[in-house]
Symmetry: C2
Subunit: 191 residues, 2 copies
DNA sequence: TCACGATACGGAGCAGCGTTCCGCTTCGCA
DNA sequence: TGCGAAGCGGAACGCTGCTCCGTATCGTGA
């Protein structure tokens, strides 16, 4: 607006720092979970906290940036699975598997997504925006094939699956619980 | 040990304050959720925060005290339901209903139970200790009646149900998700 | 090559959290 | 009624996410 041409692109050090930050955050998330303090990430990256907040206005933006590729991959897998699976239900089931994989391998991510702390609302919203349409497409195909009851919304299913993935450990197998949920989803002739 | 008889019971003001605190906490939980700051509860009760911490060494102890009666009632309902229901599965289903009722009517309680914040671990442990045996008894009866698959632990089911109750609102009906989970629990002849 | 404005950085500081600590007050028995 | 024990209040501590601004660095036009 003011100059418009002095520095058309980000400064080299800023670009470098952004990548350093993403790497440091990813490492910190693995080491200490997604709730690791911002200060720790800054220290690991060798920068001040101010630098983090300039690149990523809020914690959630940083988490989103770190996991963006994986979430995108999960979203993209939906149509592919639908096209190649034996049945819509199999496609849905496999896609849910991918989603559960993602959530359970990221220490504390599922819990962070559902935490009612305001800082994570953006994160929550972004995940849903990105993945709900994909889930809805799969679900719709299942319903049309008569393989799944028709009174469940994609949003509801996603949130249910996400919730089930919270706090998985050796005594709580989230995948098995999700399996139960998906089994319960099947269209039932008996009632 | 030292005196042993000077003051056999708590002082009157302490007993009074404990009740005031329980009432204030219950009101604060309803008004602002279980994550309401300790300072707010203290202010509502008209006491200092120190007073809260003498009566309830940690937040979790206060939450436990507030909900103790309701949790006890839920635990007691297990055997009763089992004795009077048409089938073990019906008893289990109704008992889970009670549990879901409890969790969803307490704003944020389910989330607090699963939060990985250390302060809530005691709370989480207490809930499970109290309710898992009851659930196990119901589940066992269902399995023996051949109504439910036999490879699910009570702890796992409880945690799954608890997780599903997190963040219920007008767009996410936790009860319906739990219904799916319980439906998925049924013993299946097909595979 | 260099000067200078735009850009980016670091970290002290703020507000809010749970929890601790200790000087003061109140209770209730002897 | 005196006095030791019990209880109370709230300042203070260490932690959090996040903001703000003086300082340092970059990169371009002269």
């Amino acid at each position: 607006m003011t100059t418009g041409r002095t520095t058309p692109t980000k400064r080299a050090d800023a670009r470098r720092n952004e990548q350093v930050l993403l790497d440091a955050a990813a490492a910190a998330f693995v080491a200490s979970g997604v709730e690791v303090p911002v200060r720790h990430i800054a220290a690991r990256a060798g920068v001040g906290v101010g630098t983090i907040y300039r690149h990523f206005p809020t914690r959630a933006d940083l988490v989103i940036a770190v996991y963006r590729h994986q979430v995108d991959a999960c979203a993209d897998a939906g149509p592919t699975l639908l096209a190649h699976a034996d049945s819509p239900h199999q496609a849905l089931s496999r896609w849910i598997d991918l989603f559960v994989d993602f959530l359970t391998t990221k220490h504390g991510l599922a819990a962070a997504l559902q935490s009612d702390r305001a800082q994570f609302e953006t994160l929550h919203a972004w995940f849903l925006d990105r993945l709900v349409p994909v889930c809805a497409e799969l679900l719709q195909a299942c319903v049309q094939a008569g393989q799944v009851r028709d009174d469940i919304e994609a949003l509801e299913l996603m949130r249910g699956v996400g919730n089930l993935c919270i706090g998985a450990d050796e005594r709580y197998d989230a995948r098995r619980m999700v399996e139960l949920l998906i089994a319960g989803l099947r269209a039932t002739t008996q009632r």
